[in-house]
């Protein structure tokens, strides 16, 4: 019995260790393969704007900017919708509609990204172009809306990413809400809370899990390649404008890797992969930190905080 326990522990522990090893090996290999570029450009690689394969001048800034900008935009657009879906399905939806809705959100996640890309080119981009053309001139003066109305660009990329991220965020948020103990809601109702207030209390209770769901969506948006490259315009120039064609790290690797024959060019592309790897690690680390700090402060004042909105209205 005890022997079996030890074997089980060692076995599962070994699998967990393989995971750590795998991440370390990816980081090591990316660094090794991009040595030429790291030695030549150093930290300037992170803040140089030029990407010129002919002159062999490489900088990752426009791609870093494009990746973060499109992902943040996708997050801003998708989070309210995804949470709305999750709350409706778990709290308000009539039973007969629940399964079809769950099925449909999960179906969205199963669509291959190339299909999203094609839909983006033929449906989304023309619609975005019409929106851009129709935008009143005073608004066009804002730095977010400068440049010619091309349709392809940051706005299309953000929109398509948002649609792709919604099923991930909403599915996990739904599961998290499901795991909120019934006593939470019952307690709220017992104190005279309305439906809305009870849901708010449940959301508050589940906040760390919900943040986790949102961050998972962010991770997905950072690495998405095919659909984005088909609608973003693929122009390595960082810009604040949502109308401007821009570029992402994943997209430039997918686009240029097959035809990159020079060693420095190849190393620079692999270093882009390294940068993406580091940024993903940092983002995930920060979200862990956020969840951790929330969980800690939450446990101290959870009772008071959860009750506060309810008692306020009850009084």
């Amino acid at each position: 019995m005890r022997k079996g326990d030890v074997g089980f522990r060692v076995g599962t522990g070994a699998f967990a260790f393989v995971l750590i090893l795998l991440v370390a090996a990816i980081g090591f290999e990316l660094t090794r393969q991009s040595m030429l570029s790291i030695q030549k450009f150093g930290f300037a690689f992170w803040r140089t704007e030029t990407w010129d394969p002919v002159a062999e001048q490489f900088g990752a800034l426009p791609f870093i900017w494009g990746t973060l900008y499109s992902s943040v935009l996708a997050l801003a657009l998708s989070t309210p919708v995804a949470l709305g879906i999750a709350v409706f399905i778990s709290e308000l939806c009539p039973d007969w509609l629940k399964q079809p809705l769950v099925f449909l959100t999960e179906l969205l996640a199963a669509i291959p990204s190339i299909v999203y890309g094609l839909w983006g080119i033929f449906v989304l981009v023309p619609a975005v172009r019409a929106l851009e053309v129709g935008m009143p001139a005073p608004l066009r003066q804002l730095p977010f809306f400068t440049g010619p109305p091309l349709g392809v660009g940051m706005l299309s990329a953000g929109l398509i990413l948002a649609i792709m991220v919604i099923p991930f965020t909403s599915s996990i948020a739904r599961e998290v809400l499901k795991s909120v103990p019934a006593a939470q809601r019952e307690g709220a109702y017992a104190l005279g809370a309305t439906r809305f207030e009870a849901i708010r209390a449940a959301l508050f209770y589940a906040r760390t899990g919900i943040i986790g769901a949102v961050m998972l969506g962010f991770g997905r948006a950072l690495g998405e390649t095919m659909a984005v490259t088909m609608v973003i315009g693929n122009n390595p120039k960082a810009s604040l404008s949502l109308f401007a064609p821009q570029y992402t790290m994943a997209a430039v690797i997918a686009n240029e890797f097959t035809e990159a024959a020079d060693q420095l060019y190849l190393d620079a592309l692999i270093e882009i992969g390294l940068v993406l790897f580091i940024i993903t690690l940092v983002v995930n680390g920060l979200s862990r930190l956020l969840i951790w700090s929330m969980a800690r402060s939450g446990s101290r004042s959870r009772a008071a905080a959860a009750a506060a909105p309810v008692t306020a209205t009850a009084a």
């Binding site: 010129d52 394969p53 080119i121 172009r129 392809v152 693929n234 390595p236 997209a251 020079d262």
Partner: protein, 339 residues
């Protein structure tokens, strides 16, 4: 008894296998010639059932890398290897042109249905971002009688590294010193302006959807998808609309100055009736292969591809090699030390 029978079956199987010894040769490289290469290898296998040639269309860059690392027996590329790459190769590599491709300008201007005329200078200035309106004097001058609107030009280029881009910028660099110095020639370049579409389909998709757009696609792609395209002025001053014949003629025009290693750009060649934005695509072979038997087979295959194989060009939309170039290549094949 049963056992003896099983042994007999096994022995006959082994015997059968040695009777038709299969030779498998692996290659990798450019995607552009993949349809005709696949056709060639399949047809050649019908003629010589013991020869099986595998080809992976992983891109020209990949083809050059793999032959340099000796992981494949032959490579293929849309652009010739650079001096640097040749130095990196373990042994001398023979470039052999197989077929020709061409790149054509496509555009989308509301109200203009006739074919537009371009020249290298105008195309270079459009892609440099210096000509920004369709009714620019330079374009109007080339197209008398066409009513061009004051629409903004949206420049569309390939976002993926591509032999198509290589041919296009090679031509523009020859026609405009400014383009040469500001942009240069490679499978991917730092474009001064415009948006990038992935693949021929990405570029043509963006062009057909964006009013005022101009882009460039492979001739085969335009022909197969019935996309109309403009004509381009050649070195003799004629405006030529790309066709398979005009592309073969461009190669014939360039044959007079063919270097011994076939590493030549044939954009803007001399001669009448030639289309100026064309290029060879190359097969890359070891001059001194490690496996002599495979070297001999590959050399035999090349002889077939350069002669009988050329007849498959027409149905697949490629331009065949002119007779003069084939003759030079047949002589060059003798360089392969296969015995």
């Amino acid at each position: 008894m049963k056992k003896a029978f099983a042994w007999a079956v096994a022995a006959s199987l082994v015997g059968g296998a040695t009777l038709v010894a299969q030779t498998t040769i692996n290659g990798a490289g450019a995607t552009f010639p993949n349809p005709i290469y696949s056709k060639w290898f399949a047809e050649y296998n019908k003629l010589h059932p013991n020869v099986q040639i595998n080809y992976q269309p992983i891109g020209s860059g990949g083809g050059i890398q793999q032959i340099t690392k000796e992981t494949v027996f032959f490579g293929a590329s849309d652009g010739p290897m650079t001096e640097e790459q040749i130095k990196a190769a373990p042994s001398p590599i023979l470039h052999l042109p197989t077929v020709l491709g061409a790149v054509v300008p496509v555009y989308n201007i509301a109200g203009v249905s006739s074919d537009l005329k371009f020249n290298g200078q105008v195309l270079a200035n459009i892609y440099l971002g210096k000509i920004t309106k369709w009714n620019d004097a330079a374009i109007v001058k080339l197209n008398p009688g066409v009513k061009l609107p004051a629409t903004d030009i949206t420049v569309v280029h390939r976002s993926d590294g591509s032999g198509t881009t290589y041919i296009w910028v090679d031509y523009l660099s020859k026609m405009s010193p400014e383009f040469q110095s500001k942009v240069g020639v490679k499978t991917s370049v730092n474009w001064p302006t415009g948006v990038g579409g992935k693949g021929n389909e990405g570029v043509s998709g963006l062009v057909t959807q964006t009013p005022g757009a101009i882009g460039y696609v492979e001739l085969i792609y335009a022909l197969q998808n019935k996309i109309s395209y403009g004509s381009v002025q050649n070195a003799a001053g004629e405006f030529v609309k790309a066709s398979v014949q005009a592309v073969t003629m461009a190669a014939a025009g360039a044959a007079a100055n063919m270097p011994a290693d076939f590493r030549v750009s044939i954009t803007n060649p001399p001669g009448k009736g030639v289309y100026p934005i064309s290029s060879f695509t190359w097969m890359l072979l070891y001059e001194n292969p490690k496996d002599k038997a495979q070297g001999k087979i590959m050399s035999e295959f090349m002889k077939w591809a350069l002669t009988d194989g050329q007849k498959y060009c027409a149905e697949l939309g490629y331009a065949p090699l002119p007779a003069s170039v084939v003759k030079m290549e047949m002589a060059a094949l003798a360089k392969i030390k296969a015995s």
